[in-house]
Amino acid sequence: MAHFKKKRGGSKQEVPTSAMPDVVFMLLFFFMVTTVLREVTLKVRVNLTQAENIEKIEQKRLLSYVYIGPERLPGNQLGEDKVQIDDAIVDDIGAIRNLMYDKLREQPKLIVSLRVDESSEFGLLTDVQEELKKASAFRINYSTRREP
C-alpha cells in the first residue's frame, strides 16, 4: 500500500490579528460620526402613522420638531393631547408663534417637522399650523413612517 502524504503548506494556520484594532477603530469612528444621541425626552406619546408617498429629508440641520400627542402621565397613563416643542410642553398655543419666529431667524430655511400621534385630533394640529403661518414658517413636513 502506497501512502500518499499530503503536502501541507508550511505557513501557520492563524489569521493575523494585528490589524484588528485598526478595523475596529474604523468601525468605531463610523458609528461615532453617524450616531445621533436622542436630544429630547418626549413628554407626549408619538406613534407615527404610515404613508406611502413620502420624501426623505436629507438636511437634518434645517429641521425643527414639533411633537403633538397625548401627554404621558406617571403610571403609564395618557392625558389630553398636548404640544411639545424642544423639551417642554407648550400649553399656550399662541406662544408657538414667537418660538418659531426665533427659530426661523436662526435658520431661515427652516423646515418644521410635525411629529403627530396617529390618534390625535386634527383640531389641535390646525391650530398649530395657523400659528406657524403667522410666524411665516411655511415649510412643514408631516413625519410618517414608510408603509411596509
Partner: protein, 181 residues
Amino acid sequence: MLLKKRERESAEINGSSMADIAFLLLIFFLVTTTINVDTGIGLVLPPPLQEDQEPPPIKERNLMNILVNSEGRVLMDDQPYQLTDVKERLKEFIDNPTNDPNLSESPDMAIVSVKTQRQTPYRIYVDMLDEVMGAYKELRDAASRSNYGVPFGALQDNSPQYEQITDMYPKKISIAEPGDS
C-alpha cells in the same frame, strides 16, 4: 565599582488591550446609534390672509373639494367616494384627458382642497393626504417617463427637467379650515 544591574523595562505601552477598549466603545455606539432618515409628507403652507383681503378668485371647475369626516368617509365635489378610489379620480381631474368641461382646464391650474373636521384623527387625515400625493406622484412619473424616459425620482433636484415637470404638475394643495359638523 559596583555595577547596579537594572532590569530595563521596555518603554512601550502595552497595546494589547487597545482592541478591547475599542470594542467596548464600538458596542456602546452600536447600541445608541439610530440611523433614522426622517421621512414624511412635505407641504408648504400658504401665507395667512390679511383681514381685509379677499381670497383670490378660482374657477369652480379648477377646484376639487375633498371632504373627509372623522369616520374617514370621503366626499369629492359632493360625490361619495371610497378612499381607495380617490387617487384615480384625482388623476382624472388633474389631467383631464378628455377635456371634460367639469374638470380642470389644465394640470397646472388644478387645485385640490382638502377639508376635514376638528375631530378627525390624524391618521385619517394623513391617509387622505397620502392619496393626493400619490396621484401627483404618478402623474409626474408618467410625464417624466414619456418625456425623458426616467421616473421622476431619478431626475436631479432643480435641474431643468425637474423644473419642467414640477411646472406641469405644480401640486397645488390647499388645507382648508376645518368645519365643526
